[in-house]
């Protein structure tokens, strides 16, 4: 499987990572190499095999649906790059 420059551009956008035009070509080679390596999986007969969704056979625990913490706004905001009036602040989202 080879990944072309347009695909890299699309994937970079999906991943929300700015990629310079000049970096697209080398990235397409690197990503192609990794995906070619994974091509080996096509040899395996997986007919009737269930995909693994749980590492160990255990039922997820349940608990009462109740508030167990809160009231820590200052801690939540402590590491934010920008805050205003108790909120996270971001650049303008709507025109």
């Amino acid at each position: 499987m080879s990944v072309d420059k347009d695909t890299v551009r699309r994937v970079a956008h999906l991943a929300r990572i700015d990629v310079d035009e000049a970096a697209l070509e080398p990235l397409s080679k690197e990503l192609s190499a990794i995906l070619s390596f994974a091509e080996q999986l096509a040899e395996v007969n997986v007919d009737g095999v269930e995909p693994m969704t749980s590492v160990t056979p255990m039922a997820l625990k349940r608990r009462q649906d109740e508030v167990t913490d809160g009231g820590i706004q200052d801690k939540i905001l402590a590491n934010a790059p920008d805050t205003r009036e108790g909120f996270f602040a971001v650049p303008k989202v709507v025109e």
């Binding site: 700015d18 190499a33 994974a38 395996v44 693994m52 590492v55 255990m58 402590a78 971001v90």
Partner: protein
């Protein structure tokens, strides 16, 4: 300097309890050793004041009697663990200045037992790497060198700072995490013991997530006994991690009798690689003989899907990483890129992630986004998850046939020089995990034990893979192997 820092956890415990030494003395010796070893770049941050405060509290507790095993033992903590009020950056620029407001469950249990935090340890960025070269702090240099050579060697990765600092006696032991081999490979490269427990044994709460279905924390120590002691403190059920197992934690140390008579050890034929160095082949044969001499029954086994473990891993781990690392968006924590007035929220995401993530992390996020995207999900991700089922089934089959543990090499070679592997070809670096990654995919426990050195005097290790939840039995086999191998090499101090 360095005499107390070179103690094992078990020796330190006995001397502390006897009142022969104090935690403050060991801690001061570790801090002096760390300062003298700045060339190794093993620590990303030293928390000296905190360490001395914790040491004094431990000494008071020891004096009062009935102190836990780890009370007073100075440890290094991989930068992947969130430590309250102390920078925790996963060796990434995107988490610059991130100070967690909470403590990870694993580290909180270590402090509960009186252990002392010396500081945070360097690692590959977000634990993505096998040589510690992807770190935003710069690479760690191994304390080991080839004879008559100044070439800096890798301590392995991603827990490279942990491996280097334990091996160089900067701390008594360290925490690591293992997603594809990140505890066991660096342990093997530096001549120490590294334990990756069964998936679910250690809580993942407060550990920066890489690939959630594969990540497990574990101890990196100077002996198997130390691994058993520290593992006990790190494990146990945690309601804050829904995959944490609610089953009893045994006394791992009490299981170390060294008696493995009647145990069945499997030797998987698929782990014999074409281009494997003869020294690794010989090491493996020696290990087999040691376990046989100790009374174990050695049987040849087959794990037919081994070959597909690495390709499956390099689909599954990046897929999970692309999802986990979506949270680094410059809004809630970490660094935000400098923006111009015209930039909108989308520009903020894209610039922040472009500046904050290193190349290997970007590659993996993009691979993950690709294999999860419409049109490719079935061909890549779903197929890899099915292959993962088959890999796990291989192990279930041999365990059902009566195998107690599996013996393999830990790594396909001894440590390599910084800059020698990878470059334009990321796959070359990925091949380091060929013997360890199956264990993560199947959720099993594994341990790397140093058993020999190569012709250049560099350490090499063997891996034992245990049945799920049977770390105690696995560690006892590792103990027997350690006793038989008698590995005692130490790096010559050049730093």
């Amino acid at each position: 300097m360095g005499e107390l820092a070179s103690l094992t956890l078990s020796d330190a415990r006995d001397k502390l309890r006897a009142g022969d030494i104090t935690s403050r003395e060991i801690t001061e010796d570790c801090l002096a050793s760390i300062e003298a070893a700045s060339e190794l770049n093993a620590f990303s941050q030293v928390t000296a004041d905190k360490a001395l405060g914790m040491a004094d509290a431990a000494d008071a507790r020891l004096k009062a009697g009935d102190a836990p095993d780890l009370c007073g033992a100075p440890l290094g903590i991989k930068d992947l663990f969130c430590t309250e009020g102390v920078n925790s950056q996963a060796a990434s620029n995107i988490l610059t200045d991130f100070k967690p407001q909470y403590e990870s469950t694993v580290t909180s249990q270590l402090w509960r037992d009186g252990a002392v935090m010396l500081g945070k340890l360097n690692m590959d960025e977000f634990a993505m790497g096998s040589s510690n070269e992807t770190s935003a702090y710069g690479p760690v240099t191994s304390p080991w060198r080839r004879p008559e050579s100044n070439t800096p060697l890798t301590p392995g990765g991603s827990s490279g700072g942990s491996a280097a600092s334990v091996s160089a006696d900067l701390c008594l032991a360290a925490t690591g995490t293992d997603t594809g081999g990140s505890i066991r490979q660096p342990a093997a490269f530096t001549g120490i013991v590294g334990v990756k427990p069964t998936y679910g044994r250690c809580s993942r709460w407060g550990i920066v997530a890489f690939a959630s279905s594969l990540d497990q924390a574990g101890p990196m120590t100077k002996s198997v006994r130390d691994g058993a002691i520290m593992l006990k403190a790190m494990t146990g059920h945690d309601p804050k991690d829904s995959t944490s197992a609610d089953i009893a934690v045994p006394d791992f140390e009490a299981a170390l009798t060294g008696d493995i008579r009647g145990k069945t050890i499997g030797i998987p034929k698929e782990y014999r690689l074409d281009q494997m160095p003869e020294e690794i082949e010989a090491l493996w044969a020696d290990g087999r003989a040691m376990l046989s001499d100790a009374g174990a029954k050695i049987v040849d086994i087959s794990l037919p899907h081994t070959k597909y473990a690495l390709p499956a891993y390099y689909i599954i781990a990046p897929a999970e990483a692309s999802s986990n690392l979506a949270r680094y968006d410059g809004v809630r924590y970490g660094a935000r890129a400098d923006l111009v007035a015209a930039d909108g929220v989308e520009d903020m995401y894209q610039k922040t992630r472009a500046q904050g993530f290193g190349d290997e992390v970007k590659r993996r996020i993009m691979i993950g986004a690709y294999v999860l995207s419409a049109g490719y999900y079935d061909a890549y991700y779903l197929r890899a998850q099915k292959v993962r089922t088959l890999i796990k089934r291989d192990f279930e089959q041999v365990f059902a046939d009566g195998v107690d543990a599996i013996l393999t090499p830990a790594t396909p070679s001894a440590a390599f020089g910084l800059g020698e592997v990878g470059g334009d070809d990321p796959i070359q670096m990925y091949l380091n995990d060929v013997f360890t990654v199956t264990v993560n995919l199947a959720g099993l426990p594994g341990v790397a034990v140093p058993t020999g050195t190569n012709s250049e005097g560099l350490p090499m290790g063997l891996q034992l893979i245990g049945r799920p939840w049977e770390e105690a039995d696995m560690l006892n086999t590792a103990y027997a192997l350690e006793q038989a191998a008698g590995f005692a090499a130490k790096p010559d101090r050049w730093w």
